[in-house]
Amino acid sequence: MSDDILHLGPRGFTNRLFTGTGKFAANTLIAPMLAASGSQMITVALRRIDSSGRSENILHHIPKEVTLLPNTSGARTAEEAVRIARIARAAGCGDYIKIEVITDMKYLMPDAIETLKATEILAGDGFVVLPYIIPDLTLARRLESAGAAAVMPLGAPIGSNLGLETKALIAQLIETCRVPVIVDAGIGLPSQAAAAMEMGAAAVLVNTAIATADDPVAMGRAFDLAVRAGRSAWLAGPAGTSHTARASSPLTGFLE
């Protein structure tokens, strides 16, 4: 499927499984997980990056060909998210940024208002902005207008492994948004990732389910297979639905 490219910012991605660097038992698992999964985009929290040399720099475990997606984890306001993004860019982490503004430590739900504000500022500042949100259609449309490169609706709370609890709402976004819809958070099993892709999601982001599996490398591979299966199914046009327009009905064409 080398011509099925997901365009985000200046780059095209042939692998629709995005991954994360959090929660691993050791950072040395990250590179083999990336190799096994083929993931081409990985998130990292700026708050975890230690460039002082005092402890190991997590970035050293990420191969150069994988796109870094720094996230603004820890930001409680748009202003903090914007500062984190700028610091990440200045530190050489690139122009991609995942906006994560969370003011609820209980369920880790993203703050819509601060996320929108941060998107407006950062998109205007040349960032490729991927905002993490609750699947809210009007919010997603506003983020599009503000210049977001994609929207990242959660399937379920971070770390919950509950799957697509918000399926009906994600479906609305997939149907209506013009930017790619990347399901992020809550995906606990490869079958859930496949389900998201079958629905028409452009990609999925999986962190906890891979990092906390008994064998994260093997689980990364499993998720890759599932994402490919789901994407193939979507492109094959599952019976009863069509993602391409049909100009005329073949059943009644003879009447013309």
Partner: protein
């Protein structure tokens, strides 16, 4: 708005009667629940739950891995002063105790900071006794700013302050606070806190709330196990944590479970919490508040701490000195607050964490301006 209403509500609660009524079936029912309420926590803290420890531990381990991954955050404490105007019967710093008292100058704090930073540590907790004359606000603000130049995260474990004072500390780089209520039992509290500002139970109880309101992103609470009846104290610690987490949604709440260690006083605790009961408390708190951090200090032994890695803990101190300073220059054994038990170096603690299948995390915060 105050947690004190919970103290009042449970002051005359028949804990003994409740514990007697809990059987294994009740414990299993609680363990099957997703979301635990207050009486579920009390059920898990009851003697009967001690028989279900392995089940509690397995669930606690799963929840911790789910929410925190296989990571252990590291921090290091720095006592900047041991002057104290309080007379707390159990504490090595109490004003009646003849120990060598001193307060670090800013130059000394700078030297300590450099020595500590060389160990790789990035999160520091600075502590004082309660003597505002020795450590006035201006000194605390300067200390915070100095430490912030060397560390990604600066927390405080000092005497209770007003909300505005916490706000000033936050503006000077402090992002979290630790404060132990010592005991939530007002009668025992009165008995062990004999003189000084610390006799004010309410002022201390409401301090974490003031810190959260002032904008600290992290608040760590606990009770000194052994002062009063420990199951009640852990119960109220858990409720205090949940109340803080529900009232201040954007604040990260964490628990410590300090067990009484030898100090330079003749104080004997009313009860001793054995290892089995300690693990019951630890796992019960994890099940009650799955996203709360759990901090274990060097009060606990190396071998015990290594075992705790998979039982719900998320944060460890390492290489601690409980006397004033002690990192740049040799520690003065006559200035300590309590005896530590885990005396390993930072590298030894890292090796143990890695051997336990976990990733030591030095840095989990940053300065963004």
């Amino acid at each position: 708005m105050s947690f004190y209403s919970f103290i009042e509500r449970y002051r005359d609660f028949d804990f003994t009667g409740f514990f007697t009524s809990v059987d294994e079936q009740a414990v299993r029912r609680t363990l099957d629940r997703e979301h635990l309420d207050e009486l579920d926590l009390l059920t898990l803290l009851s003697p009967a739950a001690g028989g279900c420890l392995e089940t509690m531990a397995q669930k606690a381990h799963r929840l911790t891995v789910q929410h925190f991954g296989h990571t252990i955050q590291l921090f290091i404490p720095l006592y900047v002063s041991n002057f104290c105007a309080n007379h707390c019967a159990y504490c090595g710093f109490n004003r009646a105790n003849a120990i060598h008292r001193r307060t670090l100058s800013l130059a000394e704090i700078e030297a300590e900071a450099r020595a500590i930073a060389a160990t790789g540590m990035q999160h520091i907790l600075f502590l004082t006794g309660e003597a505002p004359a020795a450590t006035p606000m201006a000194y605390l603000l300067d200390a915070a700013a100095c430490l912030k130049r060397h560390f990604a995260s600066v927390s405080i474990e000092i005497f209770p302050l007003a909300e505005e004072e916490y706000r000033q500390l936050r503006q000077h780089g402090v992002d979290g606070m630790t404060l132990f209520q010592e005991t939530y039992d007002e009668t025992v509290y009165r008995r062990v806190h004999l003189a000084g500002r610390k006799t004010d139970f309410r002022w201390r109880l409401d301090a974490p709330e003031r810190g959260a309101r002032a904008g600290f992103r992290a608040v760590n609470i606990g009770a000194l196990l052994g002062l009063a009846e420990p199951r009640r104290d852990i119960f109220l610690t858990g409720l205090h944590g949940r109340w803080l987490a529900d009232t201040f949604l954007d604040t990260e709440v964490s628990f410590s479970l300090p067990r009484f260690n030898r100090t330079g006083t003749a104080f004997e605790p009313t009860s001793v919490v054995d290892d089995r009961t300690f693990v019951q408390f630890l796992t019960a708190l994890r099940l009650f508040l799955p996203r709360a951090g759990i901090t274990i200090s060097t009060r606990e032994s190396a071998s015990f701490r290594d075992r705790l890695l998979h039982l719900g803990v998320t944060r460890y101190s390492a290489y601690s000195r409980t006397g004033v300073g002690g990192y740049a220059a040799a520690e003065d054994p006559d200035s300590r607050q309590f005896e530590i038990t885990d005396t390993r170096t930072v590298n030894e603690v890292i090796a143990a964490i890695v051997a336990g299948g976990c990733q030591p995390v030095f840095k989990d915060w940053d300065t963004i301006g």
